[in-house]
């Protein structure tokens, strides 16, 4: 059983999805999906434990030996990612049923859960597989279900947002496929480990350069690196709340994982950062992303838009971490993926609770909400403080590591810019806090009650996690550090 965990991680949600059709009642479907996701979560914990104690797990799908058959390869990096994805997915699902009641017609609930599980399958597949073509397959599974999920939003603009994402996402996926094809042409293999052995021999060819560029651009489209981020704000804003939470916390992380996997493992550090000017590129785009997106966030009227732009800015921080191409920098990046998942899921879930009560998410609907929904607003405030990077929250931990990484490189101006960037976060977070706590409710608005318990439980679980992992950083820092070291080939 233990030896089959890598594949079970993907198979469980994959098989659970069609089974949902057999359970007619939406409530049962919800419980069943929650159950499936929880199983996936437990598996990911077991996998992480296993990887931390006894190293990389290689699983041969169908018993075919590695370079020929499909290999599932779990190392510290993807075990960490699997943990993030399944944990968030499970916590978010707790609130799903309550949230869907208000946002999606009853007859579509089953469909929603099926798509959700498929999307989860896709992400888990991308992360666990060690085969480049398999990555593409799972990428399509997760993307196609994502387009459909976003289109389920009850605002008509959701269709347009979904269509935008469909076009951009398809371009991205196609680019990745072309890149993989070119790599296959040069090396005759699709296995990532094998590719990393063979690519250096043909590294100085134009085909490999082209393959690299296609893959990187494709992946950067998926992870919404500035200026390829245009699809993200609307997709997040008009999707059903639960979908927003899930994607904001996990989807971009998966794409970032791919970027790290391709640059560090497949193409190799020296090719990615020494031969090609990736360092400067990522640094510039990352910084530009931080400032452009944070400034844009300040001017948004739709609060989901505010935090969607903030997500793009956070991708910027993550890219700056990668661009240092040092162990500390990569540790900061991995930490921030973990931490950002925690803060954004908490915030977006709280926004979901606001939508549940108010029916809208415009800034004007936040007037006086500090009194009417104290627990929800407190959660948004704490989540916001974490986003700003207050000490004792997770946001501080990743910011600290990023700062140290930049100082280590002697990049003082960048360190200053990073800190200035987080001041912009103060502005866009505080705009919301002020409106909620200092404005009287709009005249003629109906007073609302605190969010239902099924919202408060997951929201506060995540908020407590935000604080807990800001104080006890042993798990996150240790795993991130070891994963970063292993990517630099420093430890087994």
């Amino acid at each position: 059983m233990i030896s089959h965990l890598p594949v079970l991680q993907v198979i469980v949600p994959l098989m659970a999805a069609p089974l949902c059709l057999l359970l007619k009642r939406p409530q049962l479907v919800w419980l069943f999906s929650l159950f499936a996701s929880a199983i996936a979560f437990i598996i990911s914990i077991l996998l992480l434990q296993h990887v931390m104690t006894s190293g990389v797990i290689s699983y041969e799908l169908g018993g075919w030996k590695a370079p020929w058959g499909i290999e599932y390869r779990i190392d510290k990096l993807n075990a960490f990612l699997l943990l993030i994805i399944t944990a968030i997915s499970t916590v978010v699902l707790i609130a799903a049923q309550t949230s869907l009641e208000k946002e999606i017609p009853k007859e579509k609930h089953t469909l929603f859960y099926i798509l959700y599980l498929l999307s989860l399958t896709g992400m888990l597949g991308i992360v666990s597989t060690g085969d480049a073509f398999n990555v593409f397959v799972f990428l399509e599974i997760s993307s196609l279900s994502a387009y459909a999920l976003i289109a389920l939003g009850n605002d008509r603009r959701a269709l347009w947002a979904s269509y935008q994402y469909l076009i951009m996402g398809t371009i991205g996926a196609t680019f990745i496929l072309i890149g993989i094809g070119l790599m296959y042409q040069m090396t005759g293999t699709l296995n990532m480990e094998d590719l990393s052995q063979r690519l250096p021999q043909v590294a100085q060819t134009r085909t490999v350069f082209t393959a690299f560029v296609f893959v990187i651009v494709g992946v950067c489209l998926k992870l919404a690196l500035f200026p390829l981020h245009l699809w993200l704000p609307n997709a997040y804003a008009y999707a059903p709340s639960i979908v927003t939470v899930f994607f904001a916390a996990t989807a971009t992380k998966v794409a970032i994982y791919l970027l790290i996997r391709f640059t560090f493992t497949v193409f190799g550090l020296s090719f990615s950062f020494a031969t090609l000017p990736l360092q400067g590129l990522f640094l510039t785009l990352g910084l530009a992303g931080i400032f452009v997106a944070s400034s844009a966030a300040i001017y948004q009227k739709n609060v989901k838009h505010v935090f969607a732009y903030s997500s793009i800015a956070q991708v910027g921080y993550i890219m700056v971490g990668i661009s240092t191409s040092t162990v500390t920098g990569l540790t900061a990046t991995l930490l921030h993926m973990f931490n950002h998942a925690l803060m954004k899921s908490a915030i977006f879930l709280a926004l979901g609770a606001v939508v549940y009560r108010m029916g809208t998410i415009q800034l004007s609907s936040f007037h006086g909400l500090g009194r009417q929904m104290p627990l929800t607003m407190a959660a948004i405030t704490i989540g916001g403080l974490s986003l700003i990077g207050m000490p004792l929250t997770v946001g501080f931990v990743s910011k600290w590591y990023l700062l140290i990484a930049l100082i280590e490189q002697g990049w003082w101006p960048v360190a200053v810019l990073i800190l200035l960037g987080s001041l912009l976060a103060v502005v866009y977070v505080w705009r919301i806090v002020e409106v909620a706590y200092f404005k009287e409710p709009l005249a003629g608005s109906v007073p609302v009650k605190e969010a239902p318990v099924m919202f408060l439980i997951p929201i506060w679980t995540l908020i407590i996690a935000n604080i807990y992992f800001g104080i006890d950083t042993r798990l996150s820092v240790q795993v991130a550090q070891l994963a970063a070291q292993s990517l630099f080939g420093m430890s087994p």
Binding site: M390, P391, V397, W400, L419, L420, L423
Partner: protein, 492 residues
């Protein structure tokens, strides 16, 4: 009651927190709620005094809470400078609570539960700052102090309060994130530790340019010390109720700022290193400019609280200057000034509040002739003014004396002139107020002055105690002086 010193040290931080629980539970009955606050502050004072006695007997107390990241821990210890700060803050918390009860009730303020809770949280943060064993712990509580006082500043909830709160939070958070955090991270990177150590943590062969730049970052980053040009938050914070202005903006918050600067000068840089840094001279002149300019601005203020605020900025400049002088007398003068200015300024604020409550006046020009109706208040105002100016028979004499000696020791003649000039300016903007109150006739438009009586007795009691404090510090400064000399004792 037999408690170990370690437990008592932790209690200083937790007692105010426990008080919050009590305050919130008893929110329905104001009498019990305020009794809880008073009890908590008495217990806190008792414990701090016990700790003081143990410090005198030469015992060391160390408490280690948690290591958040490698070499970054939350831990506490007791040293003389922190003891001065803790003693003042805990004593004045008791007095201010007494005062606040009279003030808040006769002013019929709303949200008093929130007021007392945030107050207690701020005190807890102050204790954390005072007893912090390393710069990281100090930084954590520094930020907690900023955030916990924000609701106090914006207490009124009006547009003006919101505006003031924005400036308050904006400047304090920006400076602490952009400069202070950067300086801390760099220090950690260079030295590998953030512990406060006698003589500093920088090695003697540290690059002087970098250390000098760090000093600038520290001085600017500690916005709470209100060195120009980052002083705007202090006048802005005067929209708060008077007890808040009194305790937080004459004692806790601003003193936390200069306390941090002193700590950094003495225990991070060490005064031997400080003298040879290339930027020290520049910062000394900056502090001098802050002293003079703020005094000049204070003269032009007609609003009493605004005048006091600018006076505070000027007096904080003294303390920063004393720390940067890097001589024994300078450090002694600075640490004593923390105490003497605290007593003087809190008395002045108490008087301002008493006048506001009893006479509903906030403009200085309207206070003519008030002395006959509020003799106790105006007499207290006079004595406290003397202490700020620094003439006998008040405590301010000693601290200013040592600061002057400090400028001579360092041969900073220009700064000596600045101190003298500023004392003259103090006379010019403080003494006319009690003078006109006693010896001038009320303006014709203020005819209704005859109906004015003294403020409620709890407020008067508080005023009398702090005024007495100003006098006692003159007659019996020995304990304070001993503590102040102990800060640099082990050096000689």
């Amino acid at each position: 009651m037999i408690l170990s010193l370690e437990v008592m040290l932790q209690l200083t931080i937790t007692i105010p927190l426990l008080a919050i629980l009590g305050i919130i539970t008893a929110r329905k009955s104001p009498n019990i709620r305020e009794a809880i606050t008073i009890t908590a502050s008495i217990i806190l004072l008792y414990i701090v005094v016990k700790l003081y006695q143990s410090l005198l007997s030469g015992k060391t107390v160390d408490v280690f809470w948690w290591e958040i990241m490698p070499n970054l821990s939350i831990s506490f210890s007791i040293e003389p400078l922190g003891m001065i700060f803790a003693l003042i803050a805990s004593f004045l918390w008791l007095i201010t609570t007494l005062y606040a009860i009279g003030y808040m009730r006769s002013h019929q303020e709303e949200n008093q539960t929130r007021f007392y809770s945030c107050f207690a949280l701020a005190i807890s943060a102050v204790m954390g700052i005072a007893f912090a064993d390393n710069l990281f712990t100090l930084f954590v509580f520094y930020e907690v102090l900023t955030l916990s006082t924000y609701p106090l500043v914006t207490h009124a909830g009006t547009e003006k309060a919101k505006q003031g709160g924005r400036v308050y939070l904006g400047i304090l958070l920006s400076t602490s994130i952009a400069f202070f955090l950067l300086a801390i991270a760099s220090t950690w990177f260079i030295t590998g530790t953030l512990d406060f150590k006698q003589g500093g943590i920088f090695s003697t062969n540290v690059d002087k340019t970098i250390a000098g730049a760090l000093l600038v970052l520290f001085i600017f980053g500690i916005g709470k010390a209100a060195i120009m040009p980052f002083h705007r938050w202090l006048p802005a914070a005067m929209v708060a109720p008077t007890p808040v202005s009194a305790l937080l903006h004459a004692v806790a918050v601003v003193k936390a700022g200069v306390f941090t600067i002193l700590k950094i000068c003495v225990y991070i840089f060490g005064i031997d290193l400080l003298v040879v840094l290339p930027t020290t001279q520049f910062l000394l002149y900056l502090a001098g400019a802050s002293v003079l300019l703020a005094s000049l601005v204070a003269m032009r203020q007609d609003n009493l609280k605004a005048r006091l605020a600018y006076s505070t900025i000027s007096q904080l400049g003294y303390i920063t200057m004393g720390a940067l002088l890097a001589t024994s007398a300078g450090v002694i003068g600075s640490s004593m000034h923390i105490a003497t200015h605290a007593f003087g300024k809190i008395t002045l604020f108490f008087c301002a509040g008493a006048i506001l409550v009893a006479a509903h006046k906030s403009k200085i020009s309207e206070m003519r002739g008030l002395g006959h109706h509020m003799p106790v208040t105006m007499m207290a105002f006079f004595i406290a003014s003397l202490s700020i100016i620094g003439v006998p028979p008040t405590g301010g004499t000693w601290s200013k004396w040592f600061l002057l000696i400090g400028t001579m020791e360092a041969e900073q003649w220009a700064l000596m002139v600045v101190l003298m000039l500023s004392s003259l300016l103090n006379i010019a903007y403080l003494l006319p107020i009690p003078f006109h109150a006693f010896f001038s006739k009320a303006l014709p438009k203020d005819k209704d002055i005859t109906a004015i009586n003294e403020a409620p007795w709890p407020s008067l009691l508080a005023i009398s105690i702090t005024t007495l404090g100003c006098l006692i510090l003159f007659i019996y400064p020995q304990p304070l002086f001993d503590l102040a000399t102990a800060i640099i004792a082990s050096r000689n």
